[in-house]
């Protein structure tokens, strides 16, 4: 985790990082995913940060909406790490919902944080058969206690997912309804 974090910061310091506004209305993400926002979000982009888009309302240290739009078979769901000291997590098209959630759990706990699955249920996502899950995270580096909600579906062998986590006090309850709305609005093109 530390090497990645330092690389991430190096990119920030080098002013490679940028923020852009994602406006209300229909937004295309990748080639096949579309969501409709009611209210703008902030998209923070740091080169080399991994395949997910990272959106936030309050800033990266507080809340993160991870948008996975078409992860392919064998693709890593996180930034590649040099040194290979830690296990890598790659998506496989044949993965079942429980395996996909376990994969996300793995990526979110690479830094020693603790993850607890609170709920996993089938749910439509993007108009396809998918799943919804709830979780909590205790972040190792600063002891922050986060609540999280995730949605996902595999369509034509590609993974589409949204994960949102924020501090369980004040922030998660504040933004969760909008995240649920974004998930409900998701459409996947075939």
């Amino acid at each position: 985790m530390k090497p990645m974090r330092i690389a991430f910061l190096a990119a920030l310091l080098a002013s490679c990082a940028s923020v852009s506004k994602i406006e209300s209305g229909a937004q295309n993400i990748g080639e096949r995913m579309q969501v409709t926002l009611e209210g703008a979000w902030n998209h923070v982009s740091v080169p080399g940060m991994g395949p997910a888009q990272v959106w936030t309302m309050e800033g990266l240290p507080v809340d993160q909406l991870l948008v996975y739009a078409g992860i392919k078979n064998d693709e890593l769901v996180h930034a590649p790490q040099s040194g290979g000291a830690r296990k890598d997590f790659a998506f496989r098209s044949g993965m079942q919902p429980d395996e996909i959630v376990a994969m996300f759990e793995g990526t979110l706990t690479r830094d020693g944080s603790q993850f607890r699955l609170l709920k996993l249920e089938p749910a439509a996502f993007g108009g396809e058969k998918g799943f919804r899950f709830e979780y909590s995270i205790v972040r190792r580096r600063d002891n922050a206690v986060l609540s999280g909600v995730g949605f996902g579906a595999v369509s034509k062998g590609e993974l589409f997912a949204l994960l949102y986590h924020a501090p369980r006090l004040a922030f998660f309850p504040r933004h969760q309804p909008r995240v649920e709305q974004i998930a409900r609005s998701a459409k996947l093109k075939t």
């Binding site: 985790m1 530390k2 000291a85 830690r86 296990k87 079942q96 919902p97 429980d98 376990a102 759990e105 793995g106 706990t109 830094d111 020693g112 603790q114 699955l117 609170l118 709920k119 996993l120 249920e121 089938p122 799943f131 205790v138 190792r140 580096r141 002891n143 206690v145």
Partner: protein, 380 residues
């Protein structure tokens, strides 16, 4: 000032391992007074006090009063007159580690609690750490500027609670010299015997760790304590000799099992989630060798095999799950694991039966709705 002499004059092993006190006896020092704030040691003490406060406030601290009191009691009996100065903190981290800071703060990680077989093995590790504490090894070592720098860098970056997976740095920071290790080993054994434990268990702790470590494909160290206390043949030998010189004592396996039972499943689940398949399999296999009927370990090994899914793993996983079920006391997840394998293989009838049993055994499971949907799919 009370003095106690350990290991009567006839201890042949003591001279061989080069204890500091020339006559082959060792006297427990008097309790330590808090050093001057301005001194180097005082600074270290303050740093540790602040880290201890953070640890106390951290959600990673395991606060179960009963378990904490149990481990505190073991540490206390080992520490003798220093009992009042030792404060045990249990930390939720799935790695084998225990450490003691100069201010008396003792940390025990849950990965260690999972791996020791009995109270005596816990006492061996705690006794070893108390040995370092009583001989003030960390203070001595931190007089060396380079060690201080490594230590400081480590604490500055991660704090103590944040220290996970940074094994390379830990090795540089916590590694004691061989002389210190010998002393701590000898004192640890002496303290164990004085408290009535079977000192033969000390060598076993390291042997067990080594067994697990050998399985790592890259041969690297994942467990901090292992990395910082490499169990060379020489140390194994010395520990075995020390134990032979002082036979007798108890292991207290029953008491140990009873106290960790409420947490065993959680710790096993966390170990499985580490994703270090080979090490986990080695660990669970070793534990099963001691208690072949233990359903929890069978389930855990089945899980890892199912997740690894290489070669004949799924068949082995099936066997472990089924053995867990027939042994009795298998956790509900065993049926779920069976269901996953049957489902993947197209054995619809068995899959249905297993998922059904899971749902019945765990109506409050987080994934109840998902497994129910798998079951319904199979019924159509």
């Amino acid at each position: 000032m009370k003095r106690r002499a350990f290991l009567a004059a006839g201890c042949a092993g003591c001279a061989a391992i080069g204890l500091a006190r020339a006559q082959g006896t060792w006297e427990m020092p008097a309790r330590f007074a808090r050093p001057e704030a301005a001194s180097e040691e005082g600074g270290l003490w303050s740093l540790m006090d602040r880290e201890e406060t953070k640890l106390r406030r951290s959600p990673f601290a395991l606060r179960d009063a009963k378990l904490k009191a149990y481990v505190q009691d073991v540490a206390c009996r080992l520490a003798g007159a220093h009992c009042a100065d030792v404060r045990v903190h249990l930390v939720r981290t799935p790695l084998f580690n225990a450490s003691m800071a100069p201010n008396g703060m003792m940390q025990v990680w849950t990965g260690l609690m999972l791996r020791v077989d009995n109270e005596a093995q816990l006492a061996a590790v705690l006794g070893h750490e108390i040995g370092h504490y009583l001989q003030r090894h960390s203070v001595e070592r931190l007089r060396d500027a380079k060690s201080r720098s490594a230590f400081g860098q480590f604490i500055g970056m991660f704090g103590l609670v944040g220290a996970i997976g940074q094994v390379g740095m830990l090795a540089g920071m916590f590694a004691y010299g061989r002389e210190h290790e010998r002393e701590a080993d000898a004192i640890g054994v002496a303290l164990m015997r004085k408290a009535g434990y079977d000192a033969a268990e000390a060598s076993r702790v390291w042997q067990n760790l080594r067994l697990e470590q050998k399985e790592r494909p890259d041969g690297g160290y994942a467990n901090p304590l292992f990395a910082t206390h490499p169990p060379a043949e020489e140390r194994m030998q010395a520990l075995a000799e020390l134990a032979q010189a002082a036979p007798g004592g108890v292991a207290n396996e029953t008491a140990w099992r009873e106290h960790v039972k409420p947490y065993l499943h959680d710790w096993l689940a966390e170990e499985v989630k580490r994703g270090q398949h080979e090490e986990s399999i080695a660990l669970f296999t070793r534990q099963l060798a001691r208690s072949p009927e233990a359903a929890e370990y069978l389930w855990a090994r089945g899980e890892v095999l199912r997740l690894r899914a290489v070669g004949g793993d799924l068949d082995l996983a099936l066997a472990d799950y089924l053995n867990a079920v027939s042994a009795g006391g298998a956790p509900a997840e065993t049926h779920r694991g069976l269901g996953f394998i049957y489902r993947a293989r197209g054995n619809a009838a068995e899959a249905k039966a297993s998922f059904q049993r899971y749902l019945e055994a765990a109506p409050q499971a987080p994934d109840f709705a998902m497994i129910k949907s798998y079951l319904e799919e199979l019924r159509t």
